[in-house]
Structure formats: C-alpha cells, structure tokens
Symmetry: C2
Subunit: 423 residues, 2 copies
Amino acid sequence: MPGTTFNMRAEIITIGDEILIGQIVDTNSAWMAQKLNLAGIKVKQISSVSDDRQHILEALNESKGRADLILITGGLGPTKDDITKKTLAEYFNTGFRLDQDALENVRRIFSKYKAPLLESNIKQAEVLENCITLLNLNGTAPGMWIEHEDRIFVSMPGVPFEMMYMMEELVIPKIKKTFKLPVIVHHTILTAGIGESILAEKIASVEDSLPAHIKLAYLPKLGTVRIRLSGNGQNEELLKNEISVYVKRITDLVSEFVMAEKDTPIEKVVMDYMESRKLTLSVAESCTGGYISHQLTQHPGSSKVFLGAAVTYSNELKISMLGVLEETLRNYGAVSEETVKEMAKGAHSAFHSDYSIAVSGIAGPDGGTEEKPVGTIWIAITGRSKTISRKYNFGNKRIQNIERSATTALIMLYKLMNQEQVC
Amino acid sequence: MPGTTFNMRAEIITIGDEILIGQIVDTNSAWMAQKLNLAGIKVKQISSVSDDRQHILEALNESKGRADLILITGGLGPTKDDITKKTLAEYFNTGFRLDQDALENVRRIFSKYKAPLLESNIKQAEVLENCITLLNLNGTAPGMWIEHEDRIFVSMPGVPFEMMYMMEELVIPKIKKTFKLPVIVHHTILTAGIGESILAEKIASVEDSLPAHIKLAYLPKLGTVRIRLSGNGQNEELLKNEISVYVKRITDLVSEFVMAEKDTPIEKVVMDYMESRKLTLSVAESCTGGYISHQLTQHPGSSKVFLGAAVTYSNELKISMLGVLEETLRNYGAVSEETVKEMAKGAHSAFHSDYSIAVSGIAGPDGGTEEKPVGTIWIAITGRSKTISRKYNFGNKRIQNIERSATTALIMLYKLMNQEQVC
C-alpha cells in the first residue's frame, strides 16, 4: 500500500566474550540504537552473546522471531577467537567467496602502514556467498548484508569507528532507500534541583493526559532528571508539533527547574549559554583532576568559551598557578571555603575569564578525616560581581564524587550567570 | 556430591527504553559481569529489553531456558514508566506485601533530605510476596530475591551505585554461601606497538598448545592489544599456575611489546612505574583538554605521582602558564613541534616534575587546514635528559583523537622512562 509505513523492528546482537566477562563496556549498541531510532526503526532488544558457535546460532534464531533487521557486531577479526563469519555461514547454509574490492582494501591498509600482509589478513577479504559486501574503509574486515527469509541480517566489525562508518554511510542509507519508515520523535527536557517523584507529581496532570502514541519517562542522574517524551507517527511535523504542546505544558509547570528543553549534557547547556553571550570560562580543579575541563572540551567549538584550566593537585601548584596564599592553606587546609574561593578568584584573574569554577575536595577512597570525611567537596564560582561557594557531602565513591562535583559546579555556575545576567 | 562445583550460568536483563533508544550506555552490565566472573559464575547472555510488559515476560521466559541465575535491573522507580515490579508479580503469579524495613528505609532517606513523603514513595516499599527483600541503603527501591522453579531471580534498581551496593554486599555473598562455585581465572597481558594479526602470528605456537579449558582472545584498542587467557577449573591455585606458564611463554615471545602482565589501564601502568621509582609527572594539555589529567586522577593514589596540569586552550595561556614564546607561536603556530616542545619544557620547569607530557593538535571536527588537517597531533615528553617529540595523524573524529593522543603520549612517556632508567 502506498503511503503506509513499515514498523521495522531491529535487534542488535553483539558478539564477544569481552562484554560477557565485563572487560569492556558495550558502547556500540547505544550508538547504533540512537541512529536506528532517528531513522524511524525501533530497537526491540539488544543481546550480548559469547564467541560460541551454538550460542550465536541460538541468538540468531531468537532474534529472527522478534525483529525484521538483525544487526550483528563483533567477531570478524583475523584471530582464532573470531568465529562470527563461519558461524553465519553455517546458519545461512552458505559458503565463502573472496571479495576483490575487500582484498584491495586490505592491501591498501597494509601498504599504508607498511606492514606485512599475512594469510589471516587475506582471509578477512572472504565474505559469505549470499551477501552484499559492505566495504570497510577504516579497517580490514568487510561488513556483510544478507537477506534471508524476509529478514535483513547485517554483520559488522566490533571496532567502534569501523562500525560507525558502515552504519552511517552504508547500512542506514540502504534501509532508508528500501523501506518507507515511520517517524519516531523524542523530546527531552533537562531539569536540575528537583527529585524524580516530586517532579512526577508536579506534572501528573500532563502525564495523565498523554495520548497512547506518546510515552513519558524519567531519567535521574547525579542531581539532574531528564523528562523524555517519545512519540510514534506518520508525519514528522505533525508529531513534533503535538509533542511540543506537551513540552510547553510541562516546562510551564516546573519552569524554575528547567535547564534545557532538549537532551543536552549539562556542560553543553552552560557553554551554549556562555557562547551566545560572549562569556569566557576558566577552571581551577583539584579533586576533579581535569574532569570538568575534559567534559567541556570534548565538545567541538568549546574553545569559544573555555580558555583553560589549572589542575592543581599539589599545594605548591595551588600557590604558584592560582595565587592561593600559603597562609590560607596552612590555616584552613586545601579542602576549605577559604582555599576554594581563592582558587576561583585566582583562576578568574590569572586567566582573564568572565567566570571561573573551582573545586577542592576529598574524592577518596583515602584522605578523609573525622572533620572532613571522604566526599567533602567545596565548590566556588567567581562571576562578574561576586564569588559564591558551597560545601557538599557526596559519598565515598571516587568516580561518583568526581562526576557529581562536576555536575554540581556547572549547575552553580549556570544559576549564578542567570542571576547576574537578568538585568 | 561433596566437592563437586556448580557451573552456574547467569543472565543479565536490563529493563528500560533509555537503553534501547540509545539515550544511555549500559555500564551496569559490564560491572555486574565482572563481579559474577570473579565469583566463578559465567554470564551466558546480557539482554536489554524495553519497559514493556509483554517483552519483559518473554525475556524472563527465554532467560530461564539458559540461565540458573537471572539478574534484572531497572524499572523499580516511583514513576509510571517503571513497570518491572508488577510485571514480575504477573510472571510469578504472586501479590505484594509492604515491607516494614524497606518502608523505614524510605522514611529515613526522605527525612535526611527533608523532602515530603509521597504516596508513590511509600509504594516503593512494597515487594513481591514470594521474595526475600534486599534492603537498599543508598536509595528508596528495595531489591528482591526470588527462588522459582530451580532458578534464582534477583530484581535490582538500575541506578548504578544502588545496584553495586546490593550486588557486592548482598547478592554475591548470598550466592557464595549457598553454592560451591568453580574457579574462573582471567589473565591479561597489555601490549603496545604491535598489530593484532602479527601478534597472533608471533604467539601462534602457544595458542595452538592451549588445553581445552583455557581460551585465548585478542582485544585491540587505540594502539594497544590486550591478550586475554581465560581458564576454568576447580582449584584456583593450580589453574593460576597453569595459566602463568602460558603467560610466561607469550611474554617471552613478544617481550619488547609487553607493557604490563595484567589487565591494567595504560595510565595505571605508567603511574605504578613512576610511584615505585618516586618520579613525578606534570601535563600540558591543549587539544586533549584535560583528558590525560582525568585519566590519571580517576585512580586513587594518583597524587603520589601527578602534581598537576595546565590545560591551555588559548595561546595567551600557553604563554603565561607554560612560558611558550610568543615568537614560537607566531612563527610555527600552536600545533607544531616547536610549540609542543616548549609546552613540555615549560610544564617541566614550572611544576618541578621529573617528567612532563605535552600535547597540541587539531582534534576536530573544525580547525584543520591543508597543511595541518584535522587529526594532526604533536606530542612531546620532557624527561631527565632530553625532550622527545613526534607528530601523528590520527583521523577526523574528535573524541577518538583525544583518546588516541592520550594513549600515545603515555606510551611515549613509558618508553622514555624505560630508556632513561635502564642504567
């Protein structure tokens, strides 16, 4: 029927013992799920299975029962633990052919790195007889597109940037060309400073009034809660308009807690705000050890706002780089209101930025005292007119303390900027 | 039978649309898999399913066919999109009871944060009638341990630190008390500077001689390849000894590429080496923007080695913080051998460290020129006797360029230290 869209369901199968023994975190699947969603394809399940013939065969069979598109990553390397290709051949009851383009690609890569071409590398250019080859310009293992019993199976390498290229340049475009897909729209609101259950109570009237094709979810994380509206439809513009009405109703109800009306990391909210007002930022980091700077600079274009940071782990550097007084450190210690304020002011004047963040605390697991237990964090922000500071007691997990400190400092900065810019 | 161990198989089921639409990366499963493995439990599959009644029921059914222990995370929050608990009740055909200890815990948490207790929060203290309650000291949603048709089902919150506490303090100890589990031993060798396939060829004789209960795998990542030996057995000491023989044979064959004989992140290898020799480190970061410092300082005890860093995004800060000459920047630009060497020397003398790393490059996606395209990265290391430097051309992905620069700089540092310390 012309005009009818195909509600394609996908399953992602990741193959590799390293995921099942917890040696690596599967970041590929989240990335793939995002791209599929944007294309209007619903991911029904993500399954991680081991480098085991029987188990791979079972997973393929199960996925066939619930998905139209099965995306398989991993197990295509040149070494003996990589068994995906031969297991797929068994599953489809097919053989191999040497793909000349894939072989050419392998040769090109090895000559670029001036590495000797091994038998195992040449074998990587072998693909399933029943497949359409997906050329891998970033690596030696080609991908494969197989149509089988009304399903599409795609096998891709597990190396993230090889898979990403293949998905973006080959797989998604090919699917879009072949099928008319529905529209999936997500709209996320970022809130800070309010708990999940109180938030839910405040917007209960909106949640209760949602139609069946729009769902609402809450995603709490380190002092923030994201509210996500997800809609399914045929017409993108209509659906977006419909969702935007609910977004407006929600943000009206909890406006004082809304940091962004889109799914943006908090550091990006802060930088976008600053960029549009031509404000600059510097950071003085002690216990966060470069994490805040990294959060900011992972984003393209951050140099328009972020000038730099002093990561001062030692007291000597707090003095020499930030101008903290020796006396202050001696009298109050490195983790104190006095020190963190001098750090913020020091960065502000040394780096000539409009705003400065400073964090000093005890991230743990060691270094705590009775008076200042692990998790004691002082944060200061120097702005146009003043320096504000606040103490937090987070907990005893190092990484969590670092991440929470960063999020909290950025929220404090955002609030101060709003105060100071209002007029 | 006394003495016989139980080869327990686990499945991890994560529930939540946020994973299937790619809004969050599932880090819980890798963490859980690690802990299970250490306890001698093999993870058979990780399945991520949506907040959908029918789909959760199917996943429970399927997992029952392949696992003895089914660990379920997510969907226990106070909001309407959290449906795990009622779906489990349906699956087990059971009702709810209000758990007094869990209720007390909810009250305690709300009074601590001085937040009003809502009806939805009280409902969180309701658990399945057929369960053993797992108290959640870090949050309001209790966990549940259910024994059903010779399987153990455990339901836990999806918030990482709540789940982690429950796994470490309650679930793993309870399993260990109940079952005699086999021993699983992993031993990983970290190599740098050699490709996966050449490595495999060099150690082929060892790989071919492995007994059936020991498996070998290769994990390539950004300039490093990890070789992992995994063994299964009854006696931990015997198994460890057996594996260590193969580790020795492998490291003998490729000794010049071995950075560590255990599964350690590269920055930890460097810091351990420096700590044992009482060496200190400082960092001058431009395009890596704090990432190297964060990599180092995420580890407890890093303050023994790491003094601090200057994150100098702007040219002005390269001059004022690191003493780079204005002339050098004018004549050669920020991304040049001359500048990166002055950055390394500047950090070395300003921070009084034994070694210094400096990185300056074009991380992208913008800022490239014909002469210096995106991915052009200069790295310099100042050591005891000299400053070394090298140019790399990585690629056009920002995050990947940042990560690769960090790994490469740490490998360069490690090699220089080895050179300078040999005598």
